[in-house]
């Protein structure tokens, strides 16, 4: 059993939850989201984020607006939609259950 493989599998599953949660706190653009995720070692490569963001947006869980930046071209700011909030809540519950289950089993 490849441990990295397992770790990757675990990360994949909770990435969506973390992205939504980060954006739920405050509207952010991609680099800020990356900073948050990388700080908590959830992302190994940054590229992973972009297809996810696009898909979440296509599923209308997220939306974005362009905002002028002082240091360069305009930035894409992502915010969560009401559907996104519901979805996030469900994911959160699922995660809590999972978390408890794992703790219960591994302790």
């Amino acid at each position: 059993m490849n441990i990295d493989n397992t770790k990757a599998q675990m990360r994949k599953g909770i990435l969506e939850l973390c992205i939504l949660a980060t954006i739920h706190k405050e509207d952010q653009y991609a680099s800020e989201i990356l900073k948050a995720l990388k700080a908590s070692e959830l992302l190994v490569v940054e590229g992973t984020l972009y297809p996810l963001l696009t898909r979440l947006k296509n599923e209308s869980l997220l939306e974005y607006r362009w905002e002028e930046s002082t240091s360069g071209p305009p930035r894409k700011y992502y915010s969560i939609t009401p559907e996104g909030k519901t979805f996030l809540k469900e994911l959160q519950t699922a995660w809590d259950t999972l978390h408890q289950a794992v703790q219960k089993i591994t302790q």
């Binding site: 909770i14 990356l34 190994v44 490569v45 940054e46 297809p51 360069g72 999972l98 089993i105």
Partner: protein, 540 residues
């Protein structure tokens, strides 16, 4: 010296080294290709380009600085190769249905994991696939055995997580990860339990590697197969036993509760325990081993699953032993209650004139009763109009003997069994048998009577009619069933043939007065019931 290229990346202007530019271009092309099938691919590429521009900007010392090969390599390393993040996206998409692939399952196998793989692929319970496969192998004359080997060779085993998930057709999401973690944990804990067994198989494996690699595996596969086979046989056996028992119990309850056998047994067995309780005990005594045979079979077929909880096993064993104890107690008690045989005799002297011919007749005492249960003599239960229930039995015998006394005597001999003589005597009195004497006529009842609720003991009922010499007696033909062979007489008659003739009593026994000539043998049969010896006297 290197050429530089000017590029516009997401609205920003960069000088870039030519070799670095080629790397960047190749990378972006790879990205485009990777996302060509994905919805909103251009947007993804644009976003990634914007991020790259941002990263390059951070690396640039000043506005005129040139992006080097090193910068590009670093940025690509941060963003990752398309394969790294594309797979994550694909499998994390809950809407994409993962196409199932046929693999062999190395985690759940007896021989090659073919059946498990097929089970995953077709979505059947693996147990049934195995069972079907086993039957096909057994009854196809080797065709399916050959087919199995082909499958074994051609199908790849699912080793990686992706392959395993593909095999089961499960998407990767939170719930599947949860499931996987639980499974993994259970497997680990199982391994901890089987640690000794593991050690054994480990050394076995090493040995086989040093000799013929894989031979051990085949051998253990065959052993597992044998185990599976025996397991299936045990399951079939156990199932049949259980089914038989339950059908038997159901039948016993349905039939027995109505009236017949329970009542019969209740009158036969002297115990405080109701008869259905005894049935239940007997049922448990048979049930527990049947259950264990079934469980053992299941365990052999599915070794990983625990069949019964330890609490269940121990309590079953306990209940089993308790049942045996109680039932054997009842048995011992039964023997004890029937230890001694004793008898009582009720005698009446009959004031008869020798000149009178005594007529022996039968009267049926079943007229007042209706037979409601017939479980064979002496367990025929009758009920009269008032609703009183009695057991009636025809099982009695009439013995006619000579006596030296001047008066005729009729005595009835009841014998029964009991714990002691007093009890046996008491038990003997449960029976009612009263011949009616009217002038020169004796009416024998066809049945003796035992009240319902009295316990049946092995009984013997005999009526002795002792007649002085010269007394004439006519035995009515209806009495033929009840005549005893112990009656001495001068004809060559069977005990039944004794009835229907007129006799005169002599010192040696009955002398037939109306038997057709020629049949006479003048042989007197006599058997002394007191010392058990038989004396035959032949008269010329």
């Amino acid at each position: 010296m290197n050429k530089t290229v000017n590029i516009n990346l997401a609205g920003r202007f960069f000088h870039i080294d030519e070799t670095a530019y080629r790397t960047l271009e190749a990378y972006l092309k790879k990205l485009k290709k990777a996302f060509s099938q994905t919805e909103g691919s251009s947007e993804i590429i644009e976003d990634i380009e914007a991020r790259m521009a941002e990263l390059f900007e951070e690396r640039k010392a000043n506005a005129q600085a040139v992006i080097s090969q090193k910068d590009v390599d670093e940025v690509i390393a941060i963003l990752g190769e398309p394969v790294d993040f594309q797979e994550a996206e694909e499998s994390s998409d809950p809407q994409s249905t993962v196409k199932k692939k046929l693999f062999r399952d190395p985690d759940d196998r007896y021989i090659g994991g073919v059946a498990a793989g097929l089970g995953h692929y077709f979505g059947f319970e693996i147990f049934w696939i195995r069972l079907i496969w086993l039957f096909l192998v057994l009854f196809s004359g080797g065709t399916f055995l050959f087919l199995y080997i082909i499958f074994w060779i051609l199908l790849p085993a699912a080793h990686t997580t992706t392959e395993k998930l593909q095999m089961k057709g499960e998407p990767v999401n939170i719930s599947t990860i949860e499931k996987k973690i639980k499974e993994e944990f259970e497997e680990v804990s199982q391994k901890v339990k089987d640690v000794d067994f593991k050690k054994g198989s480990e050394t076995l494996k090493k040995k086989s590697r040093s000799t013929v690699d894989g031979l051990g595996k085949v051998l253990s596969g065959l052993l597992k197969f044998a185990g599976l086979f025996i397991g299936v046989l045990l399951i079939i056996l156990g199932f049949n036993l259980l089914a038989g028992l339950f059908i038997g119990l159901l039948g016993a309850l349905l039939l027995g509760w109505t009236l017949g056998p329970f009542l019969m047994l209740q009158s036969l067995i002297s115990t405080m325990i109701p008869i259905w309780g005894l049935f239940l005990l007997a049922f448990i005594i048979a049930l527990v081993p049947a259950l264990f045979i079934f469980g053992l079979g299941l365990k052999l077929v599915r070794p990983r699953k625990s069949i019964f909880s330890p609490v269940f096993v121990w309590s079953s064993v306990l209940i089993w032993f308790a049942s045996i104890l109680v039932l054997s107690g009842v048995g011992f008690n039964q023997v004890r209650k029937n230890r001694v045989e004793s008898s009582i005799t009720e005698a009446t002297s009959l004031p008869l004139q020798v000149s009178d011919t005594l007529r022996l007749q039968l009267h049926s005492n079943t007229q007042d009763y209706e037979r409601i249960v017939d479980w064979g003599n002496p367990f025929e239960l009758y009920e009269n109009e008032a609703g009183d229930r009695v057991f009636l039995s025809e099982d009695w015998r009439l013995v006619i003997q000579p006596t030296t006394a001047s008066e005729a005597e009729l005595s009835t001999h009841f014998s029964s069994r009991g714990e002691d003589i007093a009890q046996a005597k008491e038990n003997a009195q449960d029976i009612l048998f009263e011949p009616i004497v009217e002038d020169s006529r004796i009416l024998f009842p066809s049945h003796w009577v035992r009240q319902e609720g009295t316990t049946f003991h092995d009984r013997d009922l005999r009526t002795y009619l002792k007649l002085p010499e010269g007394q004439k007696v006519f035995i009515h033909a209806k009495l033929s069933d009840y005549m005893s062979w112990e009656t001495p007489h001068d004809e060559n008659l069977t005990r039944r043939e004794l009835a229907g003739h007129l006799y005169e009593m002599t010192a040696d026994g009955l002398k037939c007065l109306d038997c057709p000539p020629g049949t006479t043998t003048r042989e007197f049969h006599y058997r002394s019931s007191k010392n058990g010896t038989e004396i035959r006297i032949r008269k010329q």
